[in-house]
């Protein structure tokens, strides 16, 4: 299935059609093959460190009052984020497809790091496109990628963030279509990426069900939407209330945000039809967020479908709410979350007091915050 309602599809230059069709066929084939699945499972277990635990954040729950807040600890994955679930899956697929050259884009650098790791482990070479603004603000991850053997290619076009990194990765793919595998980092892009990335990330929601049963509420942050779709998809047919949290930046009225589902309308970017932050004639708008990983004007098409169907509620957290949630978790639980994940926490802090103490909220803590030290320090110097 290439569509989620009207959303999704493959709006791509003709040169990419054979590559995308090959990917569809090969993914359909290998994802059913037991040797592929068991190889991926063993990498997820022995290399990435799965299962990830669920931690009952008692101190935080007590501080906030109301429902019990639990954290799905994707921050404990190798590399420090959920991204490795997807990169291992795709890198294994690329290898089986006989692709030698791997390209990727990255925003916060977490997907770039996870790509570099998976490629190193599987004996492949990665080239990672990264907006030059992100190279600046996530310098630690740039260095990590280089240490791991990846080449980082700064992108100076446009807003110099994730969107532009994806543009240049797609241009590279068009140019080197015959031997290159594009390892996309979120549940975005042309079919089959949104489905494939969702499948690889669904390990998050499947483990949640196994570990705690059906939670009352599940909350995850939404950039492109991979950790959120991985959390929500296995819970889709359960009674869980699902909440996705987008980057509210300086507030929706300020225009400085990345709240695609809350403030955008359907459009076509990066090969997919989905909600998009755009002006009246379809020019894509610049976005803003304290977290580089959410600084993206598009969103995965399955989220657009979930929004319109009403199954998932999408809210926003502003930079200042995020900074508060970030420090609150540091102080109450001794856990430094990624700024992206702190968006989900900020929502949990709003929702918990409206619920009963016997109810459970699961927050997908998509990553750890070491990469964000510079940003949060500068934020507090200025605010």
């Amino acid at each position: 299935m290439s569509k989620f309602g009207d959303f999704g599809g493959a709006y791509i230059p003709e040169t990419l059609v054979p590559a995308v069709e090959e990917l569809q066929q090969e993914y359909a084939r290998f994802s059913q093959e037991s040797s592929f699945r068991s190889e991926l499972e063993s990498y997820l277990k022995d290399y990435a460190g799965r299962y990830t635990p669920i931690y009952h954040a008692k101190n935080l729950s007590k501080r906030i009052g109301g429902a019990q807040i639990h954290l799905k600890r994707e921050d404990l994955c190798h590399g420090g984020a959920h991204k490795i679930n997807n990169t291992l899956g795709q890198a294994l697929l690329a290898k089986r497809m006989g692709k030698r050259r791997i390209i990727a884009e990255t925003g916060a650098g977490q997907h770039g790091v996870a790509t570099a790791m998976a490629c190193a482990a599987l004996g492949m070479k990665a080239e990672v496109y990264m907006g030059s603004k992100d190279v600046e603000r996530q310098r630690l991850n740039v260095y990590r990628m280089k240490l791991l053997g990846a080449d980082v290619i700064p992108v100076k076009a446009g807003s110099r963030t994730l969107k532009d990194a994806i543009n240049d990765a797609i241009r590279d793919w068009i140019t080197n279509v015959n031997d290159t595998y594009y390892l996309l980092g979120s549940a975005v892009g042309p079919h089959p990426y949104p489905t494939m990335v969702r499948d690889f990330q669904s390990v998050i929601g499947e483990e949640i069900l196994e570990q705690m049963g059906v939670p009352d509420v599940a909350i995850a942050c939404v950039g492109g939407g991979s950790n959120a779709i991985g959390t929500f998809h296995p819970l889709y047919n359960k009674s869980t209330k699902l909440i996705g949290v987008e980057a509210g930046g300086s507030g929706l009225d300020s225009g400085l945000h990345s709240a695609t589902l809350s403030a955008g309308r359907p459009g076509i970017l990066h090969g997919m039809l989905s909600y998009l932050l755009q002006d009246d004639t379809g020019q894509v708008l610049e976005t803003h967020s304290i977290s580089a990983g959410l600084d993206y004007p598009g969103v995965g098409p399955e989220h657009s479908y979930y929004k319109d169907s009403g199954r998932v509620t999408y809210s926003v957290a502003t930079d200042s709410e995020v900074a508060d949630a970030f420090t609150t978790l540091c102080k109450t639980e001794g856990i430094i979350p990624a700024l992206e994940s702190a968006h989900a926490l900020a929502e949990a802090i709003k929702v918990a007091p409206t619920m009963k103490a016997s109810e459970d909220i699961i927050v997908t803590l998509s990553g750890r915050g070491d990469k964000d030290m510079d940003i949060i320090r500068r934020y507090y110097e200025q605010n």
Binding site: G9, E14, V17, I174, I268, Q278
Partner: protein
């Protein structure tokens, strides 16, 4: 018969191929675009491709990306594009093709977009990221307004895929001559010639245009020899514009004239 069809019919009688130079509306500014178009007409262009900028042109290389950024920065909008077309239509009835990206058309609404384009004298539309698989509504509405939809094929398109592209294309089929973005500097590739011969063998009455990376008369000569019906020149024109800011009209007309000379077989 559209204006584009008529132009190809005339050219065929004279044993000429169509030269289709490209300009980005609003690059380097509004008035200069008008001069560029006048230079193209004077130099002997057969059809003109007038780009409307998109913020994220993922099929374009640096030259057209920069032109799009410049155009958006000086405030190009669809309504300015339409008034530019009205001014162009006062001086010439040459066929004009709008090239932009799917989201511009989708965002405004296919119906509104195609209606307005048609009303202001656009004869055909190229959307490089509009895959034929997603194009049904866009094509149906284009047909309603008599707008030609020009689709692209690539050297790696299978025969089955090419037949489908041929089936849904009006005016001509646009063969992308390189694995790469616009402005690629790799010369004429063997695989492009092979693809041209293969598609010409399937296209029957539909003309086949070749574009991406064409810069010289020599490039054009090679494609013409192998059956190209039209040659599309984009980034190379923008580079002429960039390097000759003072007399844009003459520079463009001279450059177009030298290219045009190569579009007659055996010239």
């Amino acid at each position: 018969m559209s204006r584009i069809d008529d132009r190809f019919a005339d050219l065929r009688q004279q044993n000429h191929r169509a030269l289709i130079p490209y300009a980005m509306a609003g690059y380097p500014d509004y008035d200069s675009t008008l001069k560029i178009v006048r230079g193209m007409v004077k130099g002997g262009a057969d059809i003109i491709e007038l780009g409307f900028p998109f913020s994220d042109p993922l099929a374009d290389g640096p030259t057209i990306q920069n032109a799009a950024t410049t155009s958006l920065n000086i405030g190009m909008t669809l309504s300015k594009y339409y008034s530019m077309l009205d001014e162009i239509r006062d001086i010439t009835d040459i066929p004009i093709i709008c090239m932009t990206y799917s989201n511009v058309a989708y965002s405004v609404g296919y119906d509104r977009f195609i209606y307005d384009m048609q009303k202001h004298g656009i004869d055909g539309i190229i959307l490089p990221d509009m895959s034929i698989d997603e194009s049904k509504e866009y094509r149906d509405i284009s047909a309603k307004y008599g707008m030609d939809t020009i689709f692209l094929a690539s050297p790696n398109s299978t025969d089955a895929r090419c037949s489908r592209i041929i089936e849904v294309s009006d005016g001509f089929l646009y063969l992308v001559a390189v694995y790469g973005t616009t402005g690629a500097q790799m010369g004429v590739q063997r695989y492009a010639i092979d693809a041209l011969l293969r598609i010409k063998g399937m296209s029957r009455d539909l003309p086949v245009g070749v574009g991406f990376g064409i810069r010289t008369g020599e490039d054009i000569k090679l494609y013409v020899k192998n059956g190209a019906d039209a040659l599309i020149v984009g980034s190379a024109i923008l580079n002429v514009v960039r390097d000759a800011p003072h007399d844009i009209e003459t520079s463009v007309s001279r450059y177009v004239d030298t290219l045009k000379r190569e579009t007659t077989e055996g010239a």
